[in-house]
Symmetry: C2
Subunit: 446 residues, 2 copies
Amino acid sequence: MTRQLHLNAFLMTTGHHEASWRLPESDPYAHVDLAHYAGLARTAERGTFDSLFLADGPHLWGSVAQRPAGALEPLTLLTALATATEHIGLIATASTSYNSPYNLARRFASLDIISGGRAGWNIVTTAGAEAARNFGVDEEPAHAERYARAAEFLDVALKLWDSWEDDAIVADKAAGVWGDDAKIHPPRHRGTYFGVEGALNVPRSPQGYPLLVQAGSSEDGKAFAARYAEAVFTAQQTVEEARAFYADLKARTAAAGRDPDHVKVLPGIVPVIGSTEAEARAHEQLLEDHIVHRHGVANLEGLLRLPAGTLELDALLPAELPPEDAIEGARSRYTLVVGLARRERLTVRQLIGRLGGGRGHLTFAGTPEQVADAIETWFTQGAADGFNIMPPVLPSGLETFVDHVVPILRARGLLRTAYGPRRTLRERYGLPRPANQYAAPALATA
Amino acid sequence: MTRQLHLNAFLMTTGHHEASWRLPESDPYAHVDLAHYAGLARTAERGTFDSLFLADGPHLWGSVAQRPAGALEPLTLLTALATATEHIGLIATASTSYNSPYNLARRFASLDIISGGRAGWNIVTTAGAEAARNFGVDEEPAHAERYARAAEFLDVALKLWDSWEDDAIVADKAAGVWGDDAKIHPPRHRGTYFGVEGALNVPRSPQGYPLLVQAGSSEDGKAFAARYAEAVFTAQQTVEEARAFYADLKARTAAAGRDPDHVKVLPGIVPVIGSTEAEARAHEQLLEDHIVHRHGVANLEGLLRLPAGTLELDALLPAELPPEDAIEGARSRYTLVVGLARRERLTVRQLIGRLGGGRGHLTFAGTPEQVADAIETWFTQGAADGFNIMPPVLPSGLETFVDHVVPILRARGLLRTAYGPRRTLRERYGLPRPANQYAAPALATA
């Protein structure tokens, strides 16, 4: 069989374009409407996507004037979606900086059990002082410290998920023995950031533990991904940059002693689809016309750590900007945005227009055939194992993709036509079920 | 209309009797089976219960040899059950000692939205060193400190749930204004245990916030309940004790400046039902015959803080026991168990038999008519506003209650025959929707 594309549906309220909520078709209350998300999940499942995904940060982001704000907590929403779907993987973002390993490990194990092995965790370290101040921390933690904490978090979580061997339950009613205490392994962890003594109070889940996903593209982020991630979401503007990122991440993964095929690289793409190229461009323009520029300027000033009022709409970015090293927050996003503005000599207005669609992800406007071509090119030229599909408007953008792009990808033999017998999210991504670190290795049979 | 009973179904794997999993009918894997819980929820809904409830503690409790251990995390499981039911309230236990207010407030608000206003929170402070050591704390926190933290947790959580006024979303597409920043109220809380600066990132939910439930019966627990709780679960062995507890809690609630009718008192009852009294007794004996006494002795030694090997099966409890003041953990449970043993001069074996059924809650064996009589007596004699129904075996015990006791209660006019137009959990319990502490009071109209 031809190598198969992996598709993830990145769901975001009324769509990834920041002005999408203003379109006549959009429901401005969609962000708290389970039926809206259940419909999206079923559409993605109709398109035989591998998974769907929800971003998250534990704070209210900016002004609520700007766009639909506040959302259902991702693990909670995905649990409800687990019951509305049968096959699709369910990837929730959760922070290693503002959770405790015991609680979070329980929740992911519970979702994995409830969904029959379809849980995934997009591991984020959560930049920014706003989030920190919701958890009693005055200053945002330093970039390096966030990643050190994340690594220890992962090590503890993996111990917790392995704390029950797969066959720890014996269920011997006659003897009155339900479980085998010898197959329970308390982590007894005492580290820099965490102390976790006891075993998890959830048995080992169908996948062993959730699919581990990562999206940071900074140096620390890539090192973390090489060590732990099984799928990586990334923002890449050109196929050349994407190929370099892909090759680098696969090499780092091999250097970390892992099979490079066990990390799947999925760049984000914002497909703006029209039945003609002109129709696609007109749709893009319609969205751009709905951008409220005062919001865009404020967001950009926030990202670049500039005082309010610094940026002018019809000028280029200032020649002098704070260096990347000074940014403790979303460092790779900063680099991407500044790079894009400099490379294409964009005014602030133009930059806001480009970012409005996908916050730095590739926006591609065209016919279904052209979108499929772009996907195939990146996929076959060593730039991607699949894509993080980020429709500019929801639900219509996902429906259009599934109805018009998916059939082309299937006809080209690049995408499954049905889910088939594989059940778990890891199986869909072609990844092995992890062995339990505490279990005795199976004896080789002669 | 006659004053109406409130019924809560306390769900616990294969049942509240510790030996229930050993019966031939029981599924020893039920604790991780969503279908098992969905079936229970639908049965409770068929019985027009107000709510269902899941207990919890963030640690693996004792030996897994003893009984089904490890369970789905309650808020996760209840989210899945929200989609499997239409009317019934969903009450999850969560700890104020081992959660952060921001994360927990988000999750309850999300469940309340997803369920259409059916979320409840059983607030626990979580005793014991085992839980503490899963969260980097070496010694269990002192009883008084746990309650001080719980009170601050509640105050912050209530601010977070009110941080969006009900009409904060304006959704003005033409003007490009989604929300009204003036109706967002960041808590800006800096206290002893928590610092929470920003507003919640979930809009105000249908109920405003989840129904607040409490179950501690210590002095601190009762003071806390008087201040915050809208429903109280309690373990009472006799109608006299229950009346005293009921009168005391209502008086404390009035003294705290609240309407005493706004806290509903629900004692636990373990109904062992047979078509004749003899059949009920035989069922009770069958369960007791399945108790593994070595587990019961170990559990009792743990509760009483006695060294292993202290207790003898066929002797009374030792005359000298650690005083209640020395117990930092489940203080009211300690008092109840010692009181029961002393009052009825029970041997350790007899005490284990009594506790095996309901861990100190009232076990009542009889015909459906007798069970209904007991419920009516407590309800009409000032001992209860309703009951926490704790079937010894699940699902059969709940089915029997719904099929045989519920019709009697309905015939007597004590229990609704259908859910009717009220939608939220608070409406079912006859409680008002809380006003937002930040909103301007509505103007009186002449």
